[in-house]
Symmetry: C2
Subunit: 499 residues, 2 copies
């Protein structure tokens, strides 16, 4: 299969450039002094430009066409078949973009990311606005390259969720929303639980150490990655064997680092579990973000906010912070970390309200893309949606429209994958409990091997081999379905709040 | 000048790839977990391959030829003229290499660097040997592409020192060696000074803080760089405005971090001082390494090991480490840090013996390149040379042949630039004192502005615009001359040792 080999050689070069770019972006957020931003934007722009150039070159096109002939008749589940098919999918996507478009966009978002950081620090939307305007304009332009489409948001959604339609997501959200709202209001009608013990001084280094202990138990491989601090935590692979996570320590809110670290570790376990057979291929990188988020949310919530988990880890946490937790019982602690209350910051939101944060963002993104909302009016629109969905008013833009890194990165279309990830995580969870009946008692003993092995076998190893609905059907027999998540929320919070 | 603009556009792309590669190498030494080494080697190989591909492309060749016509008749000192001439020099160099050679070499050294780290840790030459064999083989092959040459070592030397011949360096070293040996033996015939106070526990964090204080006084711009720890300290620019240094803290030997930090800062001040007009051009990167080392050695030794410097900084150091230094007078401290004694580790060597470390390395490199020495026999040859030059026998390879990072990086031809840098630093120093008569008293007050401004004006701003001998003639009226350095050593050590 000589054309297939040619194709793989081209994909290797693209992969290497992708890792170089990932490193440049990791470094910009973790290490770089502000002075480096301009040069870094150029570097990222050049790397992305070359990636696109290589990926859409006549040599790739020829190898791809040849490889398509070579794989004809092979089983559709064959890895090589998938490599060729997904390369075709992505090739056709990039082929629609004018020369230099991706490089220009990468340069813009690299600089915009820095501007967003400054703007967030000062809670100064005006500082970020000119960059966001350009980003929105370029994202609308991006969508236009894919016309005709069913919905202007489809091409953006498909960057992160290949094969899905906006209408499909909207239908899922429409089914989910009333259930989610009903649960939140049922909770609100019951006495609030106490989490005042979380609002005390927790030494940063001990928070860090606890997080490290937890994810080491989970199976995060420190020989193939590292953890650093970042303003907005993220996970990034700068190699198949170098999967890095970041976390954020807040002195008076240990939940940020505990659940943030676990969340990113969930992503990292996925990346560390991709089959080495997929090294340098498109199957190691083009992964459904909903599936990815299903992993981060599964570890963060279904494991990390569960009673079995804390049966094992709470004594350790108590020993680190006796001054705050000595007199807090496990039951009280468990309820406290699961307190439900509409709040301003998505990444700190509880499980019952989290998806509401997502829905409001998706509506704003769609409005920006449709042109029914202008960037100038975004803070007001944001605040109105927060009022509508959560009944709150952000006191400033840092806690409002500037809170997320996504838009400065150009990630329009990404948010819905968090909610779909939540739904998938509950679907996997029901199946995992069927397959590992004593999972809870394993977790109570700090054992995560069987769980990790299950995830490796059923999800991680495949990387981007399957689109989300296909994987979902393969693992649990149906496409994305809100019901298991709703069942999970009802079951959990009826116990926490006693209804 | 449309061809010149085309040429600059090509150089910008090459520069961006160079920064991406620099970041990949910085990260490999500062951050990366060992598991990442294999992928990182691929990334570096791909980046270097693309750099060479872009730099030697038909487009560059055409733009270069066109630009050569466009600049005809312009003043030879004009920046554009220099950009074109130096591009031609480098283009002709790369054009001699077969396709893929540089990428293959970069991949090899990226992996070899990691193997060297492991080998050094375990003092296990055998672990590093297979990589070094390949590196030496490829470096000999590299030289062969430049045949006929006056000396097989010339093409390697010219990587770091364009325009110089091995014979020229050997002549300088031949003039220097007897003088240097005479000074060392004169010192040896006098009573040894005491530096026992340096062989105590010095808390790492305080060493770090002191180094930061010193280089902040020098004018290191923290908005355009950062400092980290590394096994083998180095300076690297990952952008014109992002110049990073690394240092090493040894608990029982504060000289390592103090003088190491100052040395790297000297390199960084050079890089931070390059004219912004040279952004994205070859003048910002293709710099004489002797001139570069003249900056690191000037700050490390002529400033950092001088009495005026310590008149200002010693009280600060005493205040940080009263338990070790309270009863050590300034005079005793100054003499102690200037103790001369043949020793095993180059980067810890005193000024009087340092060049001997260089000369022995150059002789070994030449022998390896000539083929009169095999990699198999290198540890024995190393130890024999150390015995000959320094009268010592390394107790193990970690303190012998494995001590330097250079060979794992493929840097054959680099070492002589350290010694030439020493010679240049003393030449500059005599001229600086003529131009700034009260420099010593400025330094005694912790003021380095005038010194830095002089260096910026006479050296830093030019980057790689001038080859070393041309710059030397421009600044002090003559080419590289060992006499000022010998005068400096005599003057200094006659006072320290009283002869």
């Amino acid at each position: 299969m000589s054309k297939l080999e040619d194709l793989k050689k081209c994909l290797k070069e693209v992969t290497d450039l992708g890792y170089a770019r990932a490193l440049a972006e990791w470094d910009a957020q973790v290490n770089m002094a502000r002075g480096g931003a301009e040069d870094r934007g150029d570097v990222v722009g050049t790397l992305v430009g070359l990636m696109v150039q290589k990926f859409t070159s006549p040599e790739t096109a020829k190898a791809l066409e040849g490889a398509e002939k070579e794989i004809a008749g092979l089983d559709s589940d064959n890895n090589d078949v998938r490599i060729v098919k997904i390369t075709r999918r992505e090739y056709d996507k990039y082929a629609k973009l004018p020369d230099g478009w991706m490089a220009k966009f990468a340069r813009l978002t690299s600089v915009a990311q820095n501007a967003w950081e400054v703007a967030k620090e000062k809670s100064d939307y005006a500082h970020f606005k000119p960059y966001l305007k350009q980003i929105v304009e370029m994202r609308r332009e991006y969508a236009s390259f894919f016309a005709p489409y069913d919905h202007v948001y489809d091409p953006l959604l498909n960057i992160y969720e290949p094969g899905m339609k906006t209408a499909e997501v909207q239908a899922i959200f429409a089914a989910l929303k009333p259930e989610q709202v009903a649960i939140v209001s049922e909770i609100a009608s019951h006495p609030q639980v106490d989490n005042s013990f979380l609002l005390k001084d927790y030494e940063g280094q001990k928070q860090w150490d606890f997080g490290v202990d937890v994810i080491t138990h989970f199976g995060y491989d420190w020989k193939r990655g590292r953890q650093d601090k970042a303003v907005h935590p993220f996970t990034i692979s700068v190699g198949l064997d170098d999967v890095r996570i970041t976390t954020k320590i807040e002195k008076n809110w240990p939940s940020a680092s505990i659940f943030g670290t676990i969340h990113e570790c969930g992503h990292a376990l996925f990346e560390q579990g991709i089959s080495p057979d997929f090294r340098h291929t498109i199957l190691a990188s083009e992964i459904s973000m909903s599936v990815h988020e299903s992993q981060s949310r599964l570890w963060e919530n279904l494991v990390g906010r569960s009673l079995p988990f804390w049966k094992f880890f709470y004594p350790k946490l108590q020993a680190l912070f006796p001054e705050n937790l000595e007199n807090v019982s496990l039951d009280k602690f468990y309820k406290g970390i699961n307190l439900v209350e509409p709040s301003l910051i998505r990444i700190e939101a509880d499980e019952a309200t989290y998806n509401l944060h997502i829905m409001l963002r998706q509506e704003l993104e769609i409005a920006l893309m449709e042109g029914s909302l202008e960037v100038d009016n975004l803070p007001e629109a944001w605040n109105a949606k927060v009022k509508e969905y959560l009944g709150l008013t952000p006191p400033n833009d840092a806690q409002g429209v500037l809170q997320d890194v996504h838009w400065s990165n150009g990630y329009f279309g990404y948010f819905p994958t968090y909610a779909m990830g939540n739904l998938l995580s509950a679907m996997w969870w029901e199946k995992i409990h069927q397959d590992i009946p004593d999972l809870d008692s394993q977790i109570e003993q700090g054992k995560f091997n069987d769980l990790l092995s299950w995830l490796r076998k059923n999800i991680h190893q495949y990387g981007g081999k399957y689109e989300v609905q296909e994987l979902s059907r393969k693992v649990v027999g149906s496409g994305i379905d809100p019901k298991p998540y709703v069942r999970y929320l009802r079951d959990k919070f009826s116990k926490v709040y006693g209804f």
